[in-house]
């Protein structure tokens, strides 16, 4: 059934007011941005997430987590998106947890993640576009372990992370999914240079340079040359999660815009009385409903271990990104001049959308993937 269960609804009823209150734009996003925070998010809120049991939502109960699934993570992420709440949730509690699950590294890192004390990052992209199969960062056998050389970019929260999951090539050549290996690497590893950069949305990402970074064999997550397996788990979870967050971004921006249509007067009338705006608003509403439905569908298929999840995840990521882009563009346009000011929040939604839309692959990457998975 594509309706939320009673338990999922209860989670939503808890998270929605919590995020609106504690994760609000004014106290979180603007605050950390305006004081120039190096992390771009607050560790206090991260701890509060843990107290609510959110950080360990995907961690198995046996390892101290809630043992829930992608649908529940999506419920949380939609609220994060709605409030533009900066946090390590998507990268750490969703993508990284899925990458680590079942591996020897899980025991080391999952308790800290569940407790809201550990932040994890994923280092995947090497060029300006997401294309994980083309990973070329080299991991050469060296003594008892490996030596890494190469560069990564768009490593979200890389400078804040206690552990960075790095996808590297141990065999084969760029373009092949075989021959990749995932490593859990300490942020302070010797030879690792981290250039912490602020992105358009005031979140932080890093450019990493690996200069003979030596790691032990036990840093490998999963199997040597078999890194595609944990990486795919992380990517599916990350993409579906980003889709849910984008639905939240779209919903937050559109709610603000629909409200504005009922307040702003021009030519002696509320601008919401003009059919030119009514029809665009109604179209946007429909697109958001559709995006929410497909984000839920992708999450349900992932939780069911259904092979169609691969396709649906790419559909969801594309649809949610396109919809959120529409929502923020219409949002700024319908707000008019005030929408261009830093003082108004609508522009912050636009900045978040462009980053989240690109994360784990933009809509063109995923449309192409839909075509390939559909056999054309």
């Amino acid at each position: 059934m594509m309706t939320l269960t009673d338990d999922q609804r209860m989670l939503q009823d808890t998270v929605r007011p919590f995020m609106a209150e504690e994760g609000a734009i004014k106290t979180q996003l603007r605050h950390w941005r305006d004081i120039g925070c190096e992390d771009g998010f607050g560790h206090g809120l991260w701890k509060q997430f843990a107290e609510l049991g959110l950080t360990g939502i995907l961690i198995p109960e046996a390892q101290g987590g809630a043992g829930l699934g992608q649908v529940e993570a999506g419920v949380v992420l939609e609220e994060i998106g709605r409030n533009l709440t900066p946090s390590p949730y998507l990268m750490t509690s969703v993508a990284a947890v899925r990458a680590l699950e079942g591996s020897a590294q899980a025991e080391r890192w999952l308790p800290g993640i569940g407790a809201g004390e550990t932040v994890a990052a994923l280092a995947i992209d090497e060029g300006r576009h997401h294309d994980p199969a083309s990973i070329a960062l080299e991991a050469r056998r060296s003594g008892n372990g490996f030596s890494l050389n190469g560069a990564k970019q768009f490593v979200v929260q890389g400078a804040s992370a206690d552990v960075i999951l790095v996808a590297a090539r141990t065999a084969g050549s760029a373009g092949e999914t075989d021959g990749l290996t995932l490593f859990a690497i300490d942020r302070d590893a010797k030879g690792l240079d981290i250039d912490n950069v602020a992105l358009t949305d005031s979140s932080k990402a890093s450019r990493l340079t690996f200069n003979n970074v030596e790691v032990d064999a036990d840093a490998v997550v999963g199997e040597v040359d078999g890194g595609w397996t944990p990486l795919s788990r992380a990517l599916n979870a990350g993409r579906a999660g980003a889709a849910s967050e984008l639905v939240g971004v779209a919903a937050g921006a559109s709610d603000m815009t629909f409200e504005y249509l009922k307040q702003r007067k021009q030519f002696g009338k509320l601008i919401g009385e003009y059919q030119a705006l009514q029809h665009r608003a109604a179209h946007l509403y429909g697109e958001i409903e559709i995006a929410r439905a497909v984000a839920l569908k992708a999450a349900q298929l992932l939780d069911a271990g259904d092979p169609r999840a691969e396709l649906m995840t790419s559909v969801a990521k594309t649809k949610a990104a396109r919809t959120a882009a529409l929502a923020v563009q219409e949002g700024v346009q319908m707000h008019g001049g005030i929408g261009m000011t830093d003082e108004h929040d609508i522009g912050l939604y636009m900045k978040r959308e462009i980053v989240l839309g690109e994360l784990f692959g933009g809509p063109r990457y995923h449309s192409n993937r839909v075509a390939e998975l559909s056999g054309y």
Binding site: M1, M2, T3, F258, L261, K262, K269, L270, G272, E273, Q275, L277, Q278, H279, A281, A282, H283, Y285, G286, E289, I290, A291, A293, V294, L296, K297, L311, M312, S314, V315, A316, T318, K319, R322, P363, R364, H366, S367, N368, V370, A371, S374, G375, Y376
Partner: protein
């Protein structure tokens, strides 16, 4: 859940044993559908057999109550039945406006006698219905309709004209909006049912740009309609009409699904890169819409859907279907421009493409649907 699994297993076995092989191939067009009715000519013995065996189980209308010819299934069971039919490739045994439009309205507004008589006939495919809504002067402004029904004691006397009456020339009965009072626009409309063989009813097919004539003009000249064929109260027909329109829009939104299991891009052969990109963008929207469609039905059954949601679905589904056929024409190139050659199956691609242009007009235009969403869901001022 265990009960549902058992129901699924039993349903699959029953369908496999009872659905004839000819009824497990995809329908090629509307013409392959079984519409039922007094004059319906079955395309094959298998088509009739499939209708009979499904009707006897109540599965032409699986979620209607058993006493009206339905299957009495729960929403979850109905979904399982649909999934299992799709898995085996079973065609719908019966397509009718009785099932998708009139039935739900009668279930809500009909008298016990009306439900017993009409719903049972619909479930068995015995009577084919058509819809008398639009008039020459009442299209988007439907409530401006002028077809008059005068109170003559034991019956109404109906005079006027309807237009865009789908398949009126093949229908047995009509559900028809008439004006019983001129004092109020919306409050002077009544909802009547009557036999198309009644004296004074004539129909005339309208030739469309596709070269086909699925729609008719329908004329009423002193048609006598017994009073027990009024649905709901006199002058309260607009409520029935709107409720029925919700179901009509829900039905039309199904066009967004296309009816193909495969992605569009997998069906069109070699295309250039630019068209491939457009088709991929379309497939994303189409797959997303199918998820929405599933969610919408689940929400409807759970009573969680906003009453105006069919408008959003109708808008999205029909705009998607138009886009699908634009892309099919682009992919087919000049092959699809042939109008009557055998090679082009009588210009099927072009005629289907033209037919879809009505999708965003019939059942309320896209602009009307957007207006309804703006007013009833977004609550925008003055909408």
């Amino acid at each position: 859940m265990a009960d549902l699994d058992q129901f699924r297993a039993e349903t699959r076995a029953w369908l496999d044993a009872n659905c004839p092989p000819e009824m497990r191939t995809p329908m090629r067009s509307e013409k392959d559908a079984c519409w039922g009715g007094r004059h319906f000519e079955f395309q094959s013995p298998a088509q009739k057999q499939w209708l009979d065996v499904m009707a006897s189980r109540g599965w032409t209308v699986p979620d209607w109550p058993k006493e009206y010819g339905g299957g009495g299934l729960s929403p979850a069971e109905t979904k399982v039945l649909k999934e299992e039919m799709a898995a085996l490739g079973c065609r719908s045994p019966l397509t009718s406006f009785g099932i998708s439009m009139l039935g739900p309205a009668l279930l809500k507004y009909g008298t016990e006698e009306q439900k017993k008589k009409y719903l049972t006939e619909i479930a068995r495919g015995e009577i084919r219905w058509c819809q008398g809504y639009s008039e020459p002067g009442a299209g988007s402004d439907l409530a401006g309709l002028q077809t008059k029904a005068e109170d003559k004691g034991d019956h109404y006397l109906v005079n006027g004209q309807k237009v865009w009456t789908s398949y009126a020339d093949q229908a047995d009965w009509i559900f028809c909006l008439v004006r019983t009072s001129s004092e109020s626009k919306h409050g002077g409309i009544s909802f009547l049912l009557f036999d198309m063989e009644s004296p004074g009813v004539t129909t005339k097919p309208i030739l469309l740009i596709s070269g086909n004539s699925p729609f008719c003009e329908t004329f009423f000249d002193d048609v006598k309609v017994p009073k027990d064929q009024l649905v709901g109260e006199e002058n309260k027909g607009w409520d029935v009409a709107k409720y029925l329109l919700g179901h009509e829009r829900e039905m039309i939104s199904g066009m967004g699904l296309g009816g193909e299991k495969q992605a569009l891009g997998a069906t069109v052969g070699e295309v250039d890169l630019l068209l491939r990109a457009e088709i991929a963008a379309f497939d994303v929207d189409a797959i997303a819409f199918s998820a929405m469609s599933e969610r919408f039905i689940d929400q409807l059954k759970a009573g969680e859907a906003h009453p105006a949601m069919p408008s959003m679905m109708k808008y999205a589904g029909t705009e998607l279907n138009k886009r699908r056929h634009e892309l099919l024409m682009a992919a087919g190139g000049s092959d699809t421009l042939e109008w009557d050659s055998d090679r082009s199956k009588g210009g099927k691609a072009a005629r289907d493409w033209l037919r879809t242009k009505a999708n965003s007009i019939e059942g309320g235009t896209s602009e009307i649907q957007l207006g309804i969403v703006a007013k009833h869901i977004l609550r925008l001022p003055g909408a």
